[in-house]
Structures are given as structure tokens and as C-alpha cells.
């Protein structure tokens, strides 16, 4: 039985590969899933448990424990996440290396957003900037702009990355699991620590592959910093991105199609249109538009826009637009804001499914399918629901709005939807959007052909009738059968460079505090001054505690000695004097007697 180890950032990534994992397990492969962090924001941990229970060949477990600095970093970017393993804080040499790794990778990610293709992506750049300590952004904000310096910095960073040692815990984990193939996803998170799995796999001679989970992964997040042996992508557009933006050799790339959308080709509505409209609270006698909410990065404050959109429809003066129903479907990870939406203020409008519905609950996917299937068109800012709508051939619309510019023109993946060959009709104003609705709601045969071409190109590049899941599973199986690559232990120069690299790691750990530069400049002299003053105090203290009593005791001893000896001498002198006197008196009497006798 072959062993496949699939390392995911968190169980939320299961949804992209669930069917493929089932297929691999059913084919006799033992599939081990390891999650770097646990997360239950949308019931992801439950998904993992459900998956593990579905087959004896599927196992789910936490990935090896990492040091706290990494956990801090991950939590900074996702406050709902907690890292697997012990949370006790230990400052160690290893933590310094981890800090250096995170720093180096974040800087690389930061620099990529200075490239010309990202000139409109200031928000994406800002997202990395928030994670980097200020000292780096101050320097890189200037040095990162010219392409020449960017290249030099990037080359230096690659050198530093090479000397960062692999994590012992991950090495041991891979040795114990001994997989025939290591799959990693998403790998391209900002400052990702998953790079260490690729590095360990290279060191131990284990074949590795990156599974690109979603359509925006290669353009809106970080870089593939250390290349795995293979990269599995959805389509040629992603293959192009992997080559041009990440430097992946074309022969390492396998195009499988978007397995995550396979269900949309096979699904059928779970109820009649009338039942559906009654369930969601819309008039079954009228067509309705589905407004699909976007993620928090794209549309953090979407409710006021949706209200303006609905108002524009209702006051359009075009009956088929003003009377159309409106079903608003909040993005599952950005749904709370819709509590503020007052659907009662608009006729024939509803928010559904209700905010807070568990996306893992029974019927959630079917409800989504029905929403798109029965809709007359789908509207959204920039969301993958627009791809799903294209599979069902529904007209798709968007409105370019300044408040969402960062999530539309500011991202490269939006161009796949709204650029040349895209399926989304993009309006520059609500008035133009109303005109688009008016024309498209009448039916547009040319639009259907455009949709099919988009889906063939973007979702099922091997043919509309060829599901991507078996192709993905076959690609994984083929990679597994390849001979393992030669182990690549650290070279001599890497081990040598690691000695001075330790101070670099220590500096990265210190700089990770994100203090102003002057703090680091002043820290050593201030420390020296404080230690000097403290030494003075300590000496005084020691003198008071030990020196003075000794001197005092010595003085007392000396005084006592002097006193006693002087007393003794005085006494002796006194006695000697008396004796002398007596002797003198005796001598005088003797003399007198002697003289008197004469």
C-alpha cells in the first residue's frame, strides 16, 4: 500500500480536495492528512473528523509542533487559529532560525508586490506590510522599488533561505511517516512555514508536490520560495503564473482542472423552483438575481453597497429590472455584517441562507446550487461563486466600484473573470449595470457560448465532459510511482555559512519585536550604561553588606587589642613602677642605713 502525506495549513483546505482524497483512498492509497493549525471558524475541524471516519485509509492528525514565534505570526494573520502542540514559550536557537525563516519569506513576498504586474495591488502589498516589522518596511519601501536592487535583495534572501536549517520535528515526522509522495497546500501563504516541509523532503529524498488550491493562490498571496518537485494547477493560466511569477520550470507543472467544481457539473436541484422561492422568501412568480457576497479581504463592508445596488434596481424604471427578486447570499466567512442588512426595507428581497448557517451542515451545498440554478443572473464583487455560476451558464455581473478597487483591479485573478475572455459583465456604474441587467435578463445566446469556452479553459481544460478529480488523482498516483529523488543533504558551504548565520537569526528574532530603529541602535549602549551603573550599585551594596562589617570588626578587634594591650601595658607599667619604687625605697633605706652606720 502506498503512502501519501498531504500537509494542509488547516482543515479548511479539505473542501478543495475532498473528492480526490476519497478517490485516492478508494484506490488503495493510504492518505495521511496533517494540519499545521486547527480551526473551527467554519466547522473545519469537524470536516477533518468526518473525513477520517469515512475510510480506514484516511488519517487526520496535527502536524508537528512548531516554535511559538511561528504561532504568533500565524495568529497575527488569522486570529481564530491556534497552532497544534504545546503553547509554552521557549526562546531557543531554533526559534531564532524560525524567525529568520519567517522574515526572509515575508520580505520576498513583500518585494513581489513591487513588480510591475502588481502596480495596482497596493492593498495586497499592505497586507504583507502589516505582518513585517517596521524596520524592514522602512528600508524596503525605498530599496525595493528599483528592479535592480530588488533582484540583489532577492538573491541575498535566497542565499539566506538556503542556510536556514530544516526543522528537526519535521524531519522526524517525515522519516516516521516515510511517504511515497508529499503533497502540500497552500504553501504560498504570506511568510509560509510550509516551505520547511519541502526543504525537509528534499533533504530526505522524498518526492514533493504543491497542490494549488484556488484560482487566486498564485497571484494574491506569497511566492513559492523553495520549489517542490511538481506543481499541480487548475489550468493553463495558472501554469503560466507558476512559470512567470514563481519561476517553476514548465516540465514540473501538471494541469489537472479544478477538481473542486466537479460536483457542480453533476448536481441537480434538490427541490422545485416554487419550493425554493417559498423557502427563501421570494416571489416564485418573478425571476430573481443572486447577489453573492465576497470575502472579507475583497469586501469588508459590503452591506451599504448591496443596499445601493438594490435601490438602483428598484428605481431603474425598467420593469424587468425593478421588479426582479433579489436573493443575497453572504460569503460563509464574511457573513456577520449581513445582520445589519434590513431586507424588510426592500420588496421581494431576502438574505439566505441565514447569517451564521454552518457551511458544513447538511444541505448547505445543495442550497447554494439551487440558489444559482434558479437565479436569472448572478451579481458579485469578486468571488469564486462567479465561476460556479459560469458552470451553470448563468449571466454574471459585477460593478467596478472605487470602494472595492483593491479587490477588483487590485488583484490579478479578477482579470480572469472580467478581462478579455472573462464571463463577467463589468459595469463602471450602477446605471450601466442596470442596462446590462436589462439586456441580459432577456437572454443572450452568445453569452452561453462564452461561458462554455471560459469553463473549458479555466475549470475543465481537458474537456467539458472530463471531470478533474480523477485526473488529479491519476496525476498524484503517477507522481507517487516515480522513483524518489536523490536525497540532498546540506552541502559543506551551507553548514559553514550556518555559523555566522546564527547571528543573523538572532538579529531576526530581535527585530521581530517590531520596535523603532532607534531602539535597536540604542539598546547596546544603553545596556552597557545600565550595567555600569548597576555594577556601581552592586559594589556599594556588597561593600555595605560584607566589606563594612569586616572593617568594622577589624577596627573593633584592633581597638580592643590596642585598648587591652594599652591597659595591660599601663597595668604592667604601673606595677613595674611600683616595684621600682619599692626597690628604690628599699635601696634608699639600705643606703641610709649604710651611710648611718658609717
Amino acid at each position: 500500500m502506498s503512502r501519501i502525506l498531504f500537509v494542509m495549513l488547516h482543515p479548511g483546505f479539505i473542501r478543495y480536495y475532498e473528492d480526490a482524497i476519497h478517490l485516492l483512498a478508494a484506490s488503495g492509497h493510504e492518505v495521511n492528512l496533517a494540519f499545521e493549525i486547527s480551526r473551527d471558524k467554519l466547522g473545519e475541524d469537524m470536516t477533518a473528523q468526518r473525513l477520517a471516519a469515512s475510510s480506514p485509509n484516511i488519517h487526520c492528525e496535527p502536524a508537528p509542533e512548531r516554535t511559538e514565534s511561528v504561532r504568533d505570526f500565524i495568529i497575527r494573520s488569522d486570529r481564530t487559529a491556534t497552532r497544534a502542540g504545546d503553547q509554552r514559550r521557549q526562546r531557543s536557537d531554533h526559534e531564532a532560525w524560525e524567525s529568520l525563516a519567517t522574515t526572509v519569506r515575508l520580505i520576498e513576498d513583500y518585494l513581489r508586490f513591487f513588480e510591475p504586474e502588481f502596480r495596482d495591488a497596493s492593498t495586497l502589498r499592505g497586507r504583507v506590510e502589516k505582518r513585517l516589522p517596521r524596520v524592514y518596511t522602512q528600508v524596503l519601501g525605498v530599496a525595493g522599488r528599483p528592479q535592480a536592487t530588488r533582484r540583489i535583495i532577492r538573491a541575498a534572501l535566497r542565499g539566506v533561505e538556503a542556510i536556514i536549517p530544516t526543522a528537526d520535528g519535521i524531519d522526524n515526522f517525515l522519516r516516521e511517516r516515510n511517504p511515497d509522495l508529499l503533497l502540500v497546500t497552500p504553501l504560498i501563504e504570506l511568510g509560509s512555514q510550509q516551505v520547511d516541509y519541502i526543504k525537509s523532503a528534499r533533504k530526505l529524498g522524498i518526492r514533493s508536490a504543491l497542490c494549488v488550491a484556488s484560482w487566486d493562490n498564485l497571484t494574491s498571496k506569497g511566492l513559492i520560495r523553495v520549489l517542490p518537485d511538481h506543481v499541480l494547477v487548475w489550468n493553463e493560466a495558472q501554469a503560466q503564473e507558476a512559470t512567470t511569477l514563481h519561476g517553476v520550470p514548465p516540465d514540473c507543472i501538471t494541469v489537472t482542472g479544478a477538481q473542486t467544481f466537479d460536483r457542480w457539473f453533476a448536481m441537480r436541484p434538490s427541490r422545485s423552483r416554487e419550493d425554493f422561492c417559498r423557502t427563501v422568501g421570494l416571489d416564485p412568480g418573478r425571476p430573481f438575481l443572486l447577489y453573492t457576497g465576497s470575502s472579507v479581504f475583497i469586501a469588508p463592508d459590503e452591506v451599504p453597497f448591496a443596499e445601493r445596488w438594490l435601490t438602483a434596481l428598484r428605481h431603474s424604471g425598467i420593469p424587468r429590472v425593478s421588479e426582479v427578486g433579489a436573493l443575497i447570499r453572504p460569503h460563509p466567512a464574511n457573513s456577520r455584517q449581513w445582520y445589519a442588512f434590513d431586507s424588510a426595507a426592500f420588496a421581494n428581497a431576502a438574505v439566505w441562507p441565514p447569517v451564521g448557517t454552518d457551511p458544513n451542515s447538511h444541505g448547505f451545498k445543495e442550497d447554494f446550487f439551487d440558489s444559482v440554478y434558479y437565479s436569472a443572473g448572478v451579481v458579485g464583487i469578486n468571488t469564486s461563486a462567479q465561476i460556479e455560476a459560469s458552470i451553470l451558464g448563468r449571466p454574471i455581473f459585477t460593478i467596478r466600484s472605487p470602494e472595492f478597487a483593491h479587490g477588483q483591479e487590485g488583484t490579478l485573478h479578477f482579470r480572469y473573470l472580467a478581462g478579455d475572455g472573462g464571463v463577467v459583465r463589468a459595469a463602471t456604474s450602477l446605471a450601466e449595470h442596470v442596462q446590462h441587467l436589462a439586456s441580459e435578463l432577456e437572454g443572450d445566446a452568445a453569452g452561453n457560448e462564452r461561458h462554455r469556452e471560459f469553463v473549458r479553459r479555466f475549470v475543465r481544460p481537458h474537456g467539458l465532459d472530463r471531470p478533474a478529480t480523477p485526473i488529479f488523482a491519476r496525476a498524484v498516483d503517477a507522481l507517487r510511482q516515480l522513483a524518489p529523488p536523490a536525497a540532498r543533504p546540506d552541502s559543506l558551504w551551507v553548514r559553514t555559512a550556518r555559523m555566522p548565520g546564527r547571528s543573523l537569526a538572532a538579529a531576526a528574532l530581535a527585530l521581530a519585536e517590531g520596535r523603532p530603529v532607534w531602539v535597536y541602535v540604542m539598546r547596546q549602549p544603553m545596556t552597557l550604561a545600565i550595567h555600569t551603573v548597576a555594577l556601581g550599585y552592586r559594589l556599594t551594596d556588597q561593600w555595605q553588606a560584607h566589606g563594612r562589617p569586616v572593617i568594622k570588626r577589624m577596627r573593633r578587634v584592633a581597638w580592643r587589642w590596642w585598648y587591652e594591650s594599652s591597659q595591660w601595658l599601663g597595668h604592667r607599667w604601673h606595677r613595674s613602677k611600683k616595684k621600682l619604687l619599692r626597690m628604690t625605697r628599699g635601696a634608699r633605706g639600705t643606703a641610709r642605713r649604710f651611710v648611718g652606720l658609717r
Partner: protein, 255 residues
């Protein structure tokens, strides 16, 4: 000092030049002027503008050009006027019978020119509290995004509310714990009616609920100033928060 109306005099040349510009856009001296600035829903804005026009006002709309262009009789939309001299707003406000606004800058411009102001859809009672007696404000309906319940105006004077507001507005966090619903058309028309009545009657009487609300704001400001720099900056000074008021229909709800 804040209580006393300030005197601002515009130079005759400036007045003449701006007047000519406004006349070119259809704003004449014939009717009393209302300056309107709001990002509220277009249907609500339209209904309010129509009400103002029906009541005999000429309306000049200013603000963000991305909020859409309004073309009604009696309403002059200056949002897309280019070039728009920076002094235009000053002249408009000073020439208005009263203003309806959402931005604090415009409310303060009204103080400067001693023009009655109605601030709508306010989220922060301390910042929006009108300083002068001729000022009115309405508060947005804040919705607790954990419970999906609208919170009371009294809740909008508590530390948890301000902590969340501060995170969203000052620290720029994308997600807060509160969402907001704009004032409805009926609420805004009520507020404008109260504003007109106040201008006509001279703002002399004040209801018990209004005094109670002011006391609440002052008490909350005193309590929160120690823990919130934002409240310390915008809250009451020596017990003075302002002589203006919250619109009647909201003040009456404060227990």
C-alpha cells in the same frame, strides 16, 4: 467660547464670484437654500430631497461623486462639479437656511458660519453631539453582529461600543462587532421637520427626555474619558457637551 456664535465675514468679491458660479448651475436667491451631503441609500436620499423641494427649498447636493448623480427639479447636484473651488462649500453653507450632513467637517463648517445643522446617521454620539443650540443629530441604528440585535442608544454610550468603534474607525480594522443601519426616510423627514420648527421657534424649549439624554452623554463621557483617549478628546469639557440635541423621536427612546 464654543457656545457664542462666531462671526465670519466673506469678502464681497468672493461672494460675488461664488454667487455667479452657483447661478450658472441654477442656484438662485429666490428660495431658501438647504445644503445636503449624505452617503445614505439613494432611495432615502431621493425621498428626502423631494420632501425638501416640496417644502419650498432649493437644495444643493455636495459630497462624494461616487454616490451617484441626482437630477431632480429644485436639486442642484454639485458632486461632479469640476473644478470645484474649495471655498464653494463654505459659501454654500453660509448661504443655507440649514444644512443636512453626514460628515463632521461640514457640521463644523456650520458652527463656523453659525448655520443650523442636522447631522444624520451619526455613529459616535460624542463626536456628533451638536455644540450649539441650533444643531440637531440623528444616530444610526447600531446592530450587534454577535446577537443580530439592534442595540439601544444607551448602549452606544458604553465602553464596549466605543472600543469597537475605535478599532474600526481609528485603527482601521476591517471587521467590527457592530453594523449600522441608516436612518429611514420617515426618520429623516421627522428630523427635518423638527429642524424647521426649531428654526421658527428659536430653540427655546427642551423636553425632559432631551435633558436626560444630555445628562447621560455627559455622565458617560466623564466615565469613559479615563479609559478612552477618543472620548477624552471629543467628550464633555467640564460637564459641557453641547447645547444641541438628539432628534426627538430618538431622545424619547432613551430611558
Amino acid at each position: 467660547m464654543l457656545r457664542a456664535p462666531s462671526t465670519v465675514s466673506l469678502s464681497p468679491d468672493f461672494i460675488e464670484q461664488t454667487r455667479r458660479q452657483l447661478t450658472a448651475h441654477g442656484i438662485t436667491d429666490g428660495k431658501p437654500l438647504v445644503t445636503f451631503e449624505s452617503r445614505t441609500r439613494p432611495d432615502i436620499a431621493r425621498a428626502v430631497l423631494e420632501f425638501l423641494v416640496r417644502e419650498g427649498y432649493a437644495v444643493a447636493r455636495i459630497g462624494d461623486p461616487d454616490d451617484g448623480f441626482y437630477s431632480y427639479d429644485g436639486v442642484t447636484d454639485l458632486t461632479r462639479l469640476a473644478p470645484r473651488p474649495p471655498s464653494l462649500e463654505l459659501f454654500l453653507v453660509s448661504a443655507s437656511a440649514f444644512i443636512v450632513c453626514e460628515s463632521i467637517d461640514l457640521q463644523q463648517l456650520a458652527y463656523l458660519t453659525n448655520i443650523p445643522s442636522l447631522m444624520i446617521n451619526a455613529r459616535d454620539p460624542f463626536v456628533a453631539y451638536p455644540v450649539r443650540a441650533n444643531g440637531l443629530m440623528t444616530l444610526s441604528t447600531a446592530v450587534d453582529l454577535d446577537t443580530a440585535q439592534a442595540i439601544t442608544i444607551t448602549d452606544m454610550l458604553t465602553q464596549p461600543y466605543f472600543r469597537d468603534l475605535h478599532k474600526q474607525q481609528v485603527r482601521g480594522r476591517r471587521r467590527g462587532s457592530h453594523g449600522y443601519r441608516d436612518n429611514t426616510t420617515e426618520e429623516l423627514i421627522d428630523a427635518i421637520t423638527e429642524m424647521r420648527a426649531g428654526i421658527a421657534a428659536g430653540w427655546t424649549t427642551e423636553s425632559e427626555s432631551q435633558s436626560r439624554f444630555r445628562t447621560r452623554v455627559v455622565e458617560a463621557g466623564a466615565a469613559l474619558a479615563a479609559v478612552s483617549a477618543h472620548v477624552a478628546e471629543w467628550g464633555p469639557d467640564d460637564g459641557f457637551i453641547g447645547d444641541g440635541r438628539l432628534v426627538r423621536f430618538q431622545a424619547d427612546r432613551v430611558s
